[in-house]
């Protein structure tokens, strides 16, 4: 049984941050390493990510970006809705698609969309966006605790880990009587929850953060997460320093948009802004 694991998501082609994070994880020592998807986007040289993933035996699941690349879709399924965000998403996706080898794209297609892990007494469910949808945005400020409890109950998990939004967060979900609120016959998983069903008292949701770009906090750091069953769940968000100047230089050499480079150098998001809820948006500069 596992007692200490490292998790990250959203590599976004940032092989330099990935390498720095993996070295740090190795130094700290864990039982297993997991990547929750989105290998590509924003950064340069997508194929440099894959050897690192394999060398360090990282267990992976698929993100929406990976699914799109594997299936040869015309867009990243990131879920952006406004014209400016979609403009930049298209540039990023086309670059990544053209620079990811067919073999690596095929490998992305072999990845599962979920994984279940037993961490001490906790049943941990790993997903990219949410357990029900690969590109669902679960922001800290727009996801109620009641909803997260419903997810835990519906998907038989004590801890749900996701990434996708690009900003880490953790919420202990405490105790409550959650009941099924659906009469749908389409999702058999939903039928597994019954009114008044007893449940473990210690549920959590963790967004494990991303390695690909800073999280709109004005610093150049990126983040991964260590989960430990001690036996209580301990969640540690770990900052990663890496050679972001080199990344910016390589992005420029690859003629990637200056807006992406500005984010790497400043720590402030310049794109993907319209999808941010009010609280998360207010924390940023733009």
């Amino acid at each position: 049984m596992l007692s200490r694991i490292a998790l990250f998501g959203g590599i976004y082609n940032n092989y330099l941050a990935l390498e720095a994070a993996l070295r740090d994880i190795k130094r700290r020592g864990v039982d297993a390493i997991y990547c929750l998807g989105d290998f590509g986007a924003f950064g340069p040289h997508p194929d440099r990510v894959f050897p690192l993933i394999w060398d360090y035996q990282v267990e992976c699941i698929q993100g929406n970006y990976d699914q799109s690349l594997a299936l040869g879709l015309s867009d990243c399924q990131c879920g952006y809705t406004d014209p400016r965000d979609n403009y930049f998403a298209r540039i990023s996706y086309e670059y990544t698609y053209e620079h990811t080898s067919p073999q690596n794209r095929q490998w992305l297609g072999t990845l599962p969309t979920h994984r279940r892990v037993q961490l001490g007494r906790y049943r941990v469910l790993l997903c990219h966006g949410s357990p029900r949808k690969i590109n669902e945005f679960l922001w800290e400020s727009t996801t109620s605790t009641a909803f997260l409890r419903w997810l835990c109950q519906t998907y038989d998990a004590d801890v749900i880990c996701a990434t996708h939004t690009g900003i880490k967060w953790h919420r202990a979900l405490g105790n409550a009587n959650v009941v099924a609120n659906t009469v749908s016959t389409e999702n058999p998983a939903i039928h597994s929850c019954n009114e008044g069903q007893a449940r473990p008292p210690d549920w959590h949701f963790v967004n494990v953060g991303v390695l690909g770009r800073p999280e709109n906090d004005g610093t150049t750091r990126v983040w991964y997460t260590i989960l430990e069953a001690t036996p209580q769940l301990r969640v540690e968000f770990v900052p990663v320093e890496y050679d972001y100047q080199r990344l910016a230089r390589e992005m420029r050499e690859e003629r990637l948009p200056e807006e992406f480079i500005a984010t790497i150098l400043s720590g402030w998001w310049t794109t993907c802004l319209e999808i941010l809820p009010a609280k998360e948006r207010k924390r940023g500069r733009f």
Binding site: P83, A146, V183, P277, A278, K279, K282
Partner: protein, 301 residues
């Protein structure tokens, strides 16, 4: 009253999960009488009235056990309700809240209380402010004389209290594309001093007052079973939302005038499936979750 389509082509949509709970808090009562309003709200339209405070609180309690993810307050004009500020503060203890407002009757003491409640909550409080033209001429022709200036003052007030309102623009000017309209509003709002403008373009709903202004739906503008094959059903609001009114719980905020859109007396009895018998469902099909806070894009047909 909306007329349903009656044939065997009508698809049925099941509720996957109650993610979004709406409160039609002031019914169809509004201080404005907009010419495109899909439920013809006005100071005199009391087809739907104010929801009493205790009814909202009852629904909030129930919503927690149902695992509701987000809450929306709409009308009419929500700020006409004497308990709105109290109820929003209470709701922010449970989840994120969005208020859909015309921003013409905001008061500083209300906004101070709401700003404090949001600061103390882990959740976002969003304001969606309706503005349908980028200048007084284009806006006031639809929303009424003087509303452009009044709404801009309301936006200023929200920004001064630390909010980042989302300006919701109904696509009434069909001479511009949605993208052109978006950028024109962004530019106008920046000129007005809103340095981080958030703009949502909303497609026209050819219902209510809008039918008199332009036209109703054409016969081919409808949803059929065939159209929902390989369609992501989550794009439909009825898949994950319900709206509480003073006259029971309805399937969505758009179909309040459809008799069979009333699904039950309370939330528990309103989780059943819904047949897309109304042509307004076509707009939801075409643009996807038009009631969400982010912009909608027309899908390729």
């Amino acid at each position: 009253m909306l007329m349903p389509l009656i044939d065997d082509q009508t698809p049925v949509v099941h509720l996957a999960h109650l993610d979004h709970l709406w409160f039609q808090i002031t019914g169809t009562l509004c201080n404005l009488t907009c010419r495109h309003c899909f439920i013809s709200c006005s100071p005199h339209n009391n087809n739907f009235g104010f929801i009493p405070r205790d009814e909202v609180e009852k629904a909030l309690v129930k919503s927690v056990s149902l695992g509701v993810k987000e809450y929306y307050y709409t009308g009419g004009e929500p700020f006409l309700h004497p308990d709105l500020v109290y109820l929003v503060c209470r709701t922010l203890e449970l989840g994120p809240v969005t208020i859909l407002t015309n921003a013409t009757i905001l008061r500083d003491d209300w906004l101070q209380r709401l700003a404090r409640a949001e600061a103390e909550s882990p959740y976002s409080l969003e304001f969606r402010v309706s503005l349908d033209g980028y200048d007084a001429i284009t806006n006031d022709a639809v929303r009424g004389a003087g509303t452009f200036a009044r709404t801009l003052r309301g936006l200023r007030r929200l920004i001064d209290h630390g909010f980042l309102p989302i300006v919701t623009v109904t696509h009434v000017d069909e001479t511009l594309s949605a993208e052109q309209l978006y950028y024109r509003f962004v530019a106008m709002l920046q000129e007005q001093g809103y340095d981080r403008p958030r703009v949502k373009i909303l497609p026209l709903l050819r219902l209510g007052a809008e039918v008199q202004r332009t036209r109703s739906y054409l016969p081919q503008e409808r949803v059929t079973k065939e159209m929902l094959e390989n369609f992501e059903l989550d794009h439909l609001l009825c898949r994950h939302a319900r709206v509480v009114t003073d006259r029971g719980v309805y399937v969505c905020p758009i179909l309040l005038e459809a008799a069979d859109a009333r699904l039950g007396d309370d939330l528990t009895s309103s989780l059943s499936s819904f047949a897309l018998r109304y042509q307004a469902c076509y707009t939801c099909y075409l643009y996807g979750t038009i009631c969400a806070n982010t912009s909608s894009q027309q899908r390729d047909l």
